[in-house]
């Protein structure tokens, strides 16, 4: 699609090729810039000289270098300390007598999702006891609410409901989910006033929760339990002046929130709402000299942003706007050669969270030996195929979207057109 020039519905230019009625202010601006009346088509502005040989060569060189940035040719499997990462994740899931375990029970299911998906991407889900895990997940189910808590004795929340569904999806145990109850829970989370999604009954609102609800409802095949059109409208309100998205309307653009909104819109077949050119540009600007990606302007790079940024670009079909090789080098440089695992940046302590997101980003870029991951669901592609939900390739093409997932209403009777 052609990049839009600040197309917020302002100054609507006629795209009629034959005759353009120029806004007088625009005309004056152009004439000041050119330094001549706009109708004078003999002016050099309209007749640029052809490129010199030197300029041609420079242009070709830039094109060649841009092409080289795409893909990971030359990167070999041994650059990734695969076995060490598998052992790291396995170890961190086994020692229950440690404070980190104790202190993080408020996000236990999410931690499990990160570790388990990392293992599956590396083809080593076999190192854990599936039954034990599935059993624990089910113990986190809160029947009165219809959602999952992060751990036993905690309250249900949309974040951990998604993690639970994702874990059960990994193990192909989705039949254990009480889909109607979850659907009712999600319905109850949609705010009446503006269609935003709350995290739980306490009412906190954040684009993360919108993404969770959209993803869960799609995975359990109850897309209409929330009004997708209203969620899309609310996400749209979170779009900022720089093309990015924040946690709520006006919230600073942040790569993590961008992922939740871009992913959320993709789940509703509403990616046309994205300011493709400027958001793509904003995302591309996340890459720093060292090759890593940051989460917003003037911040340090962090491996987790490799995922939030790259998956958003993948959904938008703009993954080639990032230098893949530089990013891969950054991620590989964050591996801990003694303990295994991946840290947020080189020489820091590794953790399961960054291990997962580092591997996920490498997967998107096609690193050898890692299974493909879906940029919308953040689940291995084969899991999405098994469930039968839409899949998004790394170049943004979508396979298998269902019309009911669309933000347009009128899916039920099939009478109203609502064809995207």
């Amino acid at each position: 699609p052609r990049p839009t020039m600040g197309g917020d519905g302002d100054g609507e230019r006629q795209d009629d090729e034959r005759k353009v009625e120029l806004d007088p202010d625009l005309k004056k601006m152009l004439e000041d810039f050119i330094g001549a009346p706009i109708d004078d088509k003999t002016h050099p502005f309209w007749n640029p000289p052809p490129l010199t040989e030197e300029q041609e060569a420079m242009f070709e060189d830039v094109k060649r270098r841009a092409k080289e940035c795409v893909g990971l040719d030359g990167f070999t499997e041994d650059l990734l300390l695969k076995d060490m990462h598998v052992q790291y994740v396995k170890r961190s899931s086994e020692d229950k007598d440690a404070i980190e375990y104790v202190l993080t029970d408020h996000l236990r299911l999410s931690g499990m999702y990160w570790g388990l998906t990392a293992l599956d991407l590396l083809g080593r889900l076999d190192v854990v006891d599936a039954d034990e895990i599935v059993d624990f997940v089910q113990r986190c189910w809160v029947p009165d609410v219809g959602g999952y808590a992060p751990c036993v004795y905690h309250d249900a929340h949309v974040l951990y409901t998604l993690s639970a569904v994702q874990i059960l999806a990994l193990f192909d145990r989705m039949e254990l989910i009480d889909r109607d109850a979850v659907a009712s829970f999600l319905t109850s989370l949609q705010r009446e006033s503006d269609g935003a999604i709350m995290g739980d009954e306490w009412g906190e609102v954040d684009t993360r929760f919108a993404y969770c609800a959209l993803s869960i409802s799609t995975l359990i095949d109850r897309p209409r339990c929330i009004d997708r059109g209203r969620v899309v409208e609310w996400i749209d309100k979170c779009k900022n002046f720089d093309g990015g998205y924040g946690s709520d309307p006006g919230g600073e653009s942040h790569a993590g929130q961008v992922f939740t909104c871009v992913g959320g819109l993709a789940l509703c077949d509403a990616v046309d709402r994205i300011d493709h050119f400027f958001l793509g540009w904003w995302l591309a600007e996340r890459q720093v000299k060292a090759g890593g990606l940051n989460g917003r302007p003037e911040k340090l790079p962090d491996v987790c942003y490799s995922w939030w940024v790259l998956s958003s670009l993948a959904i938008m079909g703009k993954m080639h706007w990032i230098d893949h090789k530089a990013l891969a080098r950054f991620i590989l440089g964050c591996q801990d050669e003694k303990k295994g695992g991946i840290a947020d940046r080189p020489d820091d302590e590794p953790d399961v969270y960054h291990t997962f997101f580092g591997l996920a980003a490498l997967s998107l870029m096609g690193f050898p030996g890692i299974k493909p991951i879906d940029p919308v669901f953040a689940l291995p592609t084969h899991v999405c195929e098994r469930i039968g939900v839409m899949r998004t390739a790394a170049d943004g093409t979508v396979i298998g979207r269902k019309e009911e997932n669309s933000a347009n209403t009128g899916g039920e009777s099939g009478g109203e057109s609502a064809r995207p």
């Binding site: 230019r13 202010d25 625009l26 440690a98 006891d129 003037e298």
Partner: protein, 323 residues
Amino acid sequence: AMSSSSSEDADADERVPYSRRPEWADVEPIPQPESANPVVLIDYADEYVDAVDVWRAVYRSRERSLRVLDLTRDVIGMNGGAYTVWHHRWELVLALGVDLAEELRYAGAMARANPKNYQVWNHMRLCSQAMKASGDDARATLAWELNETHTRIALMMDAKNIHAWTQRAWAVRTFGRWTDEMDFTERMIDDDVRNNSAWNQRFFCVVGGLGGFVTSTDGNGSGDGNAKSAPGDGGDVVVLASAELAFAKSQLDKSPHNESAWNYVRGILKRPNVGWGWRGEGEAIARKHLGDIFGDASRRRVGGTSSDDERGGESDGESRGEA
């Protein structure tokens, strides 16, 4: 299962575990359940486990008392991330009629200890909303002041703490303090011209302003609808756009390689009620810093023939200068 060793501290004045306090003897602690494949792990802390085991029991039994309120403070003090404990505390605050201003101050202090934690800020919002809902103007003003103070302190520790900025934005909208906040963003930008959060906040206020500058103290509701003001009149727009472009221009003169400031300029120019005339201003700012990349040929003036030839523009709208 957890270790039942006694306190490792030799010092007799150290805290007595809940499991040995007579006033808690009536409660049977609930230990951490066995779970498969737990998450990340550090060193085991008896004190925390002791306290949280008792908390689990009283959360379940739904006891509402001051001792439980104190217990939540203790648990949160050791683990600010325990969001269920925060919710529990809010329930207790309401049930026990705790002074909301005091609770807000407490949350503010916890925000300094746990600046990246979502729950502490959510707790502040709950307290503030309740103070506003009381209908007492003095309470509402106090709520604004406490929010302003505590977020400002958090930003002194980390000027880009997105939670603190989000909280400020919420408070500004709830209590209608747009003008105050514009001044604040200017100070923060002066401190660090590359503080993207400050630029974002400024834009947030400008939109609140362009949308109809709120001069009364009536904010946009309790923040639950996130409603922007209705579109304002054209006069405000001209003054504001002019002032803001000048502001951005002066910041860019100091430091042209500043992503935030350029995004800001473009953001102003993209506003629906900012017309094409302003694009020229933006272009002039850009041109100054780009230098003359087009070379003399394209800038040469042609002697003044202005024909009314209506052949129409052949430009397809693509910018020639896109770097």
